[in-house]
Symmetry: C2
Subunit: 456 residues, 2 copies
């Protein structure tokens, strides 16, 4: 099936996407005698778990993004890895080639697709304008601008005050909880005293969740703790909400009281979308090119070894994969869309490529769950940590927050970024200040004709 038996050249492996999964796979492959090409739309690996900090002005973009070429500089120098900035628009599974945006084709012997996920508005794409999500740095800047501008609007326009000072976050998963908690913190601790006409502490932050509790992926007891900590920070937590409409002036949602549907309206101009996740459009490419089956979220249903049925040379990992974990005993369980899972898939996909090259049998994916962590704000977090032999350890509050802090700094790519984030946070902790409170305006248009100031 694959053309790796030609002795004249090293097998070519193409990796699409440099998120947690793609980066891990590339690093593992670079240690073997293969020719790896990594394609990504951007030039940096993004530490997505801290993206909400960029969106809430706590960190600058470079603090959580490392240039891919710099991370992989040793592998590049040794001639093992080629990094290309480009967008994959199609996969030709028959000819075994990846098609880039300019029509260029990258032939492969093995392909690892790690293109990730984006936000989904459940078919209501018109909501995107009013309720941006949080997946890329550009998204984070957009949200940062909207949150900061809302307070400025309230100061400038007394008639809009109430609406401008109302913030809605849709979706009570980790991102929603983090965004709501941090916006409340900004209103209560960072901005007070910096306005003349408004009291920023009067801002309302409303968190809307469809299920009956926030952080549904966590044990109920921790959801409860998270809710309590959110309320303490000043967030209004509303569960069992179904959002029915979002427009420029606010949003409508429904709740149920017994059999009765109650309709609500919230006047706000700042809505954060943290509700829907959809797999990368490359999932649909794989359906068309290789008959891949997709689940409801557009994720590719993979074989136990992460390959595609009928196409063992194609593997799909990370958020794009609807993968199952195959534990030593017990039935397979679905793999959650978290970074440790993506990394583990990346390592297995690389190892399976090498096994195939040696004509060995591939292994099934087995997810090792170290637990879950979510932060809510200053000194507030919940943790559910798997302890070998002992089961799980659940804790919340200050201890969980410190634990969260160290885990995130530890996993940040590169010594330099860790140091940056640590100093930024230490600063923020003591001063309550957020140093990245910068609105980036649109590029200035050129000045209308004026005579030269100095000659060129």
């Amino acid at each position: 099936m694959t053309r790796t038996d030609s002795p004249s050249r090293r097998p070519r492996v193409v990796v699409i996407g440099c998120g947690f999964g793609g980066l891990e796979a590339t690093r593992a492959l670079a240690r073997a005698d293969v020719e790896v090409t990594l394609v990504d739309r951007t030039n940096h690996h993004l530490f997505q778990p801290l993206l909400y900090q960029v969106a809430t002005a706590g960190l600058s973009a470079p603090a959580i993004s490392a240039p891919i070429r710099h991370i992989l500089r040793r592998e590049i120098r040794r001639g093992r890895v080629t990094v290309l900035l480009g967008e994959v628009v199609d996969i030709d599974a028959t000819a075994q080639a990846v098609v880039l945006d300019d029509g260029a084709r990258l032939p492969y012997d093995h392909l690892i697709v790690a293109a990730g996920a984006t936000h989904s508005y459940f078919g209501r794409d018109d909501w995107a304008t009013h309720a941006p999500g949080l997946k890329t740095l550009a998204d984070a800047f957009e949200l940062r601008n909207r949150v900061l501008r809302a307070f400025e609007q309230a100061e400038r326009h007394p008639e809009l005050r109430e609406q401008a000072l109302t913030f809605a976050v849709i979706g009570g998963g980790p991102t929603g909880v983090e965004m709501a908690g941090t916006i409340a913190e900004i209103a209560r601790h960072t901005l007070p005293g910096e306005f003349r006409r408004i009291d920023s502490r009067q801002a309302r932050v409303v968190l809307l969740e469809g299920a009956d509790r926030v952080l549904t992926a966590m044990p109920a007891v921790l959801s409860q703790k998270a809710s309590e900590q959110l309320v303490r920070l000043g967030v209004e937590v509303r569960t069992g909400c179904r959002v029915t409409d979002i427009d420029a002036e606010g949003l409508s949602y429904e709740t149920r009281q017994g059999d009765e549907v109650v309709r609500h309206r919230l006047d706000t101009r700042t809505v954060v979308w943290a509700a829907g996740v959809a797999a990368s459009p490359l999932g649909r490419c794989l359906r068309e090119a290789a008959g891949a089956e997709l689940d409801r979220a557009g994720r590719v249903i993979v074989q136990p070894d992460l390959s595609l049925a009928g196409y063992p040379e194609i593997q799909v990992i990370g958020d794009l994969a609807a993968a199952m974990s195959h534990p030593a005993k017990g039935p397979p369980t679905p793999v959650p869309g978290v970074s440790p899972a993506a990394k583990q898939m990346g390592r297995l996909a690389a190892a399976n490529v090498l096994r195939r090259l040696r004509s060995e049998a591939t292994r099934s994916f087995r997810y090792i769950d170290y637990g879950a962590l979510a932060t809510i704000g200053r000194k507030a977090a919940v943790a559910d940590v798997a302890v070998p032999m002992l089961g799980s350890l659940r804790f919340s509050g200050w201890a969980a927050w410190v634990f969260w802090l160290f885990v995130h700094i530890y996993f940040l790519i590169g010594f330099r970024n860790r140091l940056m984030v640590l100093t930024d946070w230490a600063w923020a902790y003591w001063t309550f200040q957020r140093h990245a409170r910068v609105l980036v305006e649109r590029p200035t248009p050129p000045t209308p004709p004026a005579t030269p100031a100095r000659a060129s």
Copy 2:
């Protein structure tokens, strides 16, 4: 003329723009018994002398921008200053009111216009697309993206290699010299070894200047030193060039050899515009509203005390003002468009407002020149420092660079930013790395319809 004699309320002073001049004026006024309103298009004060570092990926945006509200928080808390985010679209000099973008009017008793300058393409606004300038953070991000993308393009498209690896900087003033030197440094020291198909050190950086030397505001001997240091960094310095056209594929320029005009063409996709400066469009507003006279660059010609002829309650300062310095002896001399001049004008404008309120005579502006500094790259700079009683001290190279470093860090707003910049630079100095190598992609469009992953 002004309506400050009403005993019932404090005199209202409006300051337009929070650059070096506007900020300094606001701070000085806040110490007196007046009601100050500061209007700016953005929420931050930008330390413009270091903007080229953001454009060349050496610093993150928050390192050189401080939120205006945070800088002025004490004055705001004491009820002295109101800060408004907004764009001034007109000045009604007769009714004494400033008109904002939404039609709101801010009445004033005294007005200080410090709206600054933008780039000018000498009537060729179509060049803006191909050759962005450097005035705002958005400009810096645009340039950063272009410079980083050029290397990526060269790696991906062998046929474009030569063109992609050619960088043109138009204008040999401080910004042009800094940009050219730093791009050369990136190509020669930051990126080598991170590409497979290109050698980044082969990049050409061409600096085009219209006059017969770079840094024309400095003594000729320092221009010579700067040129030498640029050449050592790998920059091709071309003086006496008149740019005649810029398009997507490169630029055309002319030089003179005796009476003959020689035409040249440079194939490049990355052009930095550091040539033309034009005053803010508010200059034209003042011409229409108050009959202000403008110079060729659109700057407002002011009275010796920085006020407008016939409108003593309006003062114009900073880059928008065509001001003269009135030394104790000797004839008036033009004031250069540098930050120390803007700050000094800000202080005088504030003091003159207070003098008018006390019905005292205003004072003429006298510029105290501390000298000029320009950096070229790592360990390369030129300095021309005014030493009291001794005349001027001229030096270049490493000593000038260290001097430049401390002067700039000293003047950075806020302890926190100074610390950030210092650690960033120490890091860059030892590692040759530039930590802000982040391309910010356009916001991701919402995914085309996919069925929900989880309910909201």
